[in-house]
């Protein structure tokens, strides 16, 4: 057993849901108890998708155990086929159903559905979400593209030079960290260098599209955590080479373009010579003097963490003081990257361990996941999110890729915004004595709790000083005569106000005082507080 408060990855069947939800005309029948339907809200609330994920849960209960759970599964699978008419079906079990060993694969075979059925065996007590997504995608690709495989050992025919090179883009899923925007960016890059896209999968791919994967000249592995097993199989089966460089950051994007151009036999030098990106110039500008040597800690999935460390060091001049991942499958790659920056990679699923390391290292910027965002809030450290797991605010309405040249621009902004920039720091120095620009003030664009908390201790002496000034000020009477008579809070009223949630308390106070002024209430009692509440409740 492992004690955990947060977990970086969900269970493997959630990974399978991310594949099913990304695709078209696929339905997943999941043997699971009723509580497992929570996973739907990841897609409908956190990613704000307009459709429910294409998943039917069997929803077995305690009273079904030992009697008819297998029948429940078959009924659910048959009904799901009739209702949704998918072109392919995935069947599998969640952690609890795994324990009751009903064999969804065998049960669905017995139904003899007229569509391909992919059986998923995802060991919930060993594996996690990304592994589940990768395994699901791999099984789908094998099942659907397999029948078109040439006999083993067949050499792929050389491409007709009159035809443009075409590739598959592999790995983008539902609930992915900016996958939708990355796809647009990378599709644009490929168009610019004259390479066609055969199939994008699993994102928006139908089962028919999957059967055509073998028609491409090579594969681009955009998200190795998800696409690597499938890409490896395609390489072995169809002889398709793969592009492994992940185009996150300026340097990696240029490397990626070179790699694609070499495989496609095209000349991309025009694009490489003039990438039309602001990020490199901003990073060089004098204002960014203040970024130099900032101590950053990087933690996330392996792909984003490796990319972030490279950008931080080579493109922004930060100092990487820690680098880690929860992706055990890619631990070797992260360890190698860490060596480049003279740090020891941290490979762990335990967020408490990550928190301890961050606290220890006196970090100036945290690049991490939603979990690190929580840690950063607690420690009062600036933070930017670079990887899943993420929350609803990481699915922005605007176009916000991580990959390609625009991705480099987005990353520059996202990482630098939480920090004090040069010009801002300079002005703060100039106005150091001004009460609004005291040394503890947070950057002006960072409203909310973090800056309030840091501003609070500084504000108290100012309030005291003000009180002192009022006492000795000759104009006090004038001030009182001009303003309306302010109501006074009774201790009970004030105490009751304190019970109102903090995020509406300010409004409640203002409304109550406005009400008291309007109706001539001098002392705000509990009763008056609720009279005001009733008055404004509309």
């Amino acid at each position: 057993m492992q004690l955990t408060v947060w977990t970086y990855e969900g269970p493997p069947h959630v990974g399978a849901m991310r594949i099913a939800t990304a695709m078209r005309d696929v339905h997943y029948v999941l043997h699971a108890p009723q509580g497992d339907t929570y996973a739907d809200l990841l897609f409908t609330m956190i990613e704000r998708r307009q459709k429910r994920p294409p998943v039917t849960y069997t929803t077995f209960q305690a009273r079904d155990l030992g009697s008819d759970t297998a029948q429940l599964f078959q009924d659910a699978a048959r009904d799901a086929y009739e209702r949704f008419k998918p072109k392919a079906m995935l069947v599998g079990a969640s952690c609890t159903a795994e324990l009751i060993q009903d064999d969804p694969g065998g049960l669905s075979d017995a139904l003899e559905l007229p569509i391909p059925v992919v059986t998923l065996e995802l060991p919930s007590y060993q594996k996690k979400e990304n592994w589940g997504a990768a395994e699901t995608f791999y099984q789908i690709v094998r099942k659907l593209a397999g029948p078109k495989a040439p006999p083993p050992g067949t050499k792929p025919a050389p491409r007709d030079p009159a035809r443009r090179a075409r590739c598959n883009l592999l790995g983008p899923t539902a609930l992915g960290f900016r996958h939708r925007d990355d796809l647009k960016e990378i599709s644009g890059l490929l168009a610019q260098i004259g390479v066609d896209i055969n199939v994008i999968a699993p994102f928006d791919a139908s089962p028919d599209d999957i059967t055509r994967l073998g028609d491409a000249d090579f594969n681009i592995v955009l998200y190795p955590e998800i696409a690597m097993p499938a890409a490896g199989w395609l390489q072995r089966t169809f002889g398709q080479p793969m592009v492994k460089t992940v185009p996150i950051g300026m340097g990696a994007t240029c490397d990626f373009i070179r790699e694609v151009a070499a495989l496609a036999g095209v000349d991309a030098s025009a694009l490489l010579d003039d990438p039309n990106s602001r990020a490199p110039w901003y990073a060089k500008s004098v204002d960014s003097t203040y970024l130099t040597g900032k101590r950053v800690f990087v933690f996330g999935d392996a792909t984003h963490a490796i990319a972030a460390a490279r950008i931080a060091t080579r493109e922004l001049g930060f100092t990487v003081v820690g680098l880690g991942t929860y992706s055990r499958e890619l631990a070797r790659e992260v360890r190698e990257a860490a060596k480049l920056y003279g740090v020891e990679a941290m490979i762990t699923e335990d967020y408490l361990e990550v928190e301890a390391a961050i606290t220890e290292l006196n970090v100036e910027l945290l690049l991490g996941t939603q979990m690190e965002r929580h840690i950063a809030k607690r420690l009062g450290v600036p933070c930017a999110v670079i990887s899943a797991p993420v929350h609803v605010q990481d699915y922005p309405a605007r176009y916000s890729p991580q990959m390609g040249f625009e991705g480099a621009n987005v990353i520059f902004d996202t990482w630098v915004h939480p920090l004090m920039m040069g010009l801002e720091e300079h002005l703060l120095g100039m106005f150091r004595e001004d009460f609004e620009f005291h040394a503890e003030a947070a950057p002006s664009h960072l409203g909310g709790a973090a800056s309030e908390r840091r501003a609070a201790p500084a504000a108290a002496p100012i309030a005291d000083a003000f009180a002192l000034a009022v006492e000795t000020d000759d104009d006090v009477d004038v001030i009182e005569a001009e303003g309306p008579i302010d109501p006074v809070w009774s201790p009970e009223g004030e105490k009751e106000l304190g019970k109102i949630p903090f995020f509406v308390r300010g409004k409640a106070r203002r409304n109550t005082e406005a009400y008291a002024r309007e109706f001539g209430v001098r002392v705000i009692t509990v009763e008056a507080l609720y009279d005001a509440k009733a008055h404004f409740s509309r």
Binding site: M1, Q2, L3, T4, V5, W6, T7, E9, G10, P11, V14, P33, Q34, G35, D36, T37, Y38, A39, D40, L41, L42, T44, M45, I46, R49, Q50, K51, R52, Y57, T58, T59, F60, Q61, A62, L65, R83, S94, C95, T96, L99, I100, P123, S124, Y125, Q126, K128, Q370, R378, H391, V392, E496, K499, E527, Y530, D531, K533, A534, H535, S537, R538
Partner: protein
């Protein structure tokens, strides 16, 4: 309707003969879009301030808790998961040793914990990990600093709010005994509501009202044959049974939602304590009048609108009663995960006759009915809300009705507002 109630200026629709007391209920089973009982921890850990909830479960349980609760957790939560892994499945003694190790680790990290709940999950139930024995064993080791209790929040046994029921029922055997006549309010309420209720009871003339759950585990209410209890929540069947096992008696009442429900709820206690009607009236009048006035300002936004409830919290029937009688809404379908006829008897009486009631869920069939009916507003879980909005429907997240203080007079208008706001938004966005 009682004399006391009639004297309060409540605007309610006349009660139809018989209401829904004997109404047929559509019982369905199939896919359910409802949280499991583990999620009750999200409000219980805020309510009982020195308790910790340790789920003994899978990665899915941990993921559920952070995904479902992540929105509202801003401090280190007082709950966690002991994730069962492959090695634990190999043999039971191993799993018990592992659990002891995890609990030791947890209690050394959090010495402020006075009450530890071991919370059973689907996998721990299926592998028959005996958490009651584990709780006894651990309780002996950590007594008297930490009490260790257990209950099940598993999705094969419980839905959403039933987790609170199981938790409170687990507290009942440990309540100190008494023979003194006493009143207990049962069900987690926001502190602000609890304080309002305490003041109103005092004004009515009933002092020393106790609340279950208490704010701190050391302030447990006492119970005995002269204890009368009022349910503040409609989903507490097991807790009620456990209290009655200790000799307590339930005061029959509707739930304290809306002016009418709140008045009748307080009146049930006043009657048992033989409070003179005039005194009762005088005590509740200011708040009841205030609440009625506040409701009357919202009524025009809701009157005549058609509402459809998907099953979620078991609050649906009292809510439907409030919305139909005090706000003149029309009930298209009222779904509930479980219908406790006894506890809801007075509520059912007050529902308009002919209301379509459904229990359990087959979500696809219910969605078909909802689409066919095209209600003005749909109350549903988080998994369904955005897809229904995308289909052009106006929705209200059912979960807000559990997390927001909605009970009592001062909250009656807030409760109405929760339903009015989505309609107002739709109208504004369309304009």
């Amino acid at each position: 309707m009682s004399a006391a109630l009639a004297a309060v200026p409540v605007v309610v629709r006349p009660k139809a003969a018989g209401g829904c007391s004997d109404a047929p209920v559509l019982k369905e089973r199939g896919q359910r879009e409802v949280f499991c009982g583990l999620t009750g921890i999200i409000w219980l850990h805020r309510k009982i301030q020195d308790a910790f909830f340790l789920i003994v479960g899978s990665r899915t349980c941990a993921h559920l808790m952070q995904s479902a609760a992540g929105v509202m957790i801003f401090a280190e939560p007082r709950f966690g998961t002991a994730i069962i892994d492959e090695r634990d499945l190999a043999g039971m003694s191993d799993a018990n040793d592992e659990l002891d190790r995890v609990v030791a680790q947890l209690l050394s990290r959090r010495p402020d914990i006075k009450l530890l709940f071991l919370v059973g999950s689907c996998p721990s139930e299926v592998i028959k990990l005996d958490l009651s024995r584990a709780a006894e064993r651990l309780g002996r080791s950590y007594s008297p600093n930490v009490r260790v209790l257990n209950y099940s929040g598993s999705g094969i046994e419980t839905t959403f709010t039933q987790g609170e029921d199981a938790c409170l029922a687990a507290l009942v055997p440990g309540l100190p005994a008494t023979n003194v006549k006493s009143l207990m309010v049962v069900g987690a309420l926001a502190d602000v509501v609890e304080d309002q209720f305490r003041r109103l009871f005092a004004a009515i003339g009933i002092a020393d009202v106790q609340f279950l759950p208490p704010r701190r585990s050391t302030l447990l209410p006492v119970v005995g044959p002269n204890t009368h209890y009022l349910l503040a929540q409609p989903f507490l069947a097991d807790t009620a049974r456990a209290l009655e096992g200790r000799g307590a008696t339930r005061l029959e009442a509707p739930f304290p939602l809306g002016v009418e429900g709140t008045t009748a709820w307080f009146e049930a206690a006043a009657r048992e304590w033989n409070i003179p009607d005039a005194k009762f009236q005088a005590a509740i009048a200011p708040a009841a009048t205030r609440a009625s006035a506040a409701l009357s300002r919202i009524r025009h936004q809701l009157a005549g609108k058609r509402i459809f409830f998907f099953p979620d919290s078991q609050l649906e029937i009292p809510l439907a009663r409030f919305l139909s009688r005090e706000l003149e809404m029309n009930l298209v379908e009222v779904g509930t995960p479980f219908l406790h006829r006894q506890h809801l008897a007075t509520e059912l009486e007050m529902l308009p006759a002919g209301t379509m009631l459904s229990e359990g869920q087959h979500v696809e069939n219910q969605l078909d009915r909802c689409r066919a009916a095209q209600p003005d507003i749909v109350v549903c879980g988080l998994g369904l809300a955005n897809p229904l909005e995308a289909e052009g429907m106006t929705t209200k997240w059912a979960i807000e009705l559990v997390f927001t203080p909605i009970q009592g007079y001062e909250q009656a208008a807030d409760l109405a507002e929760l339903f009015a706001r989505p309609l107002v938004r739709r109208a504004k966005l369309a304009a």
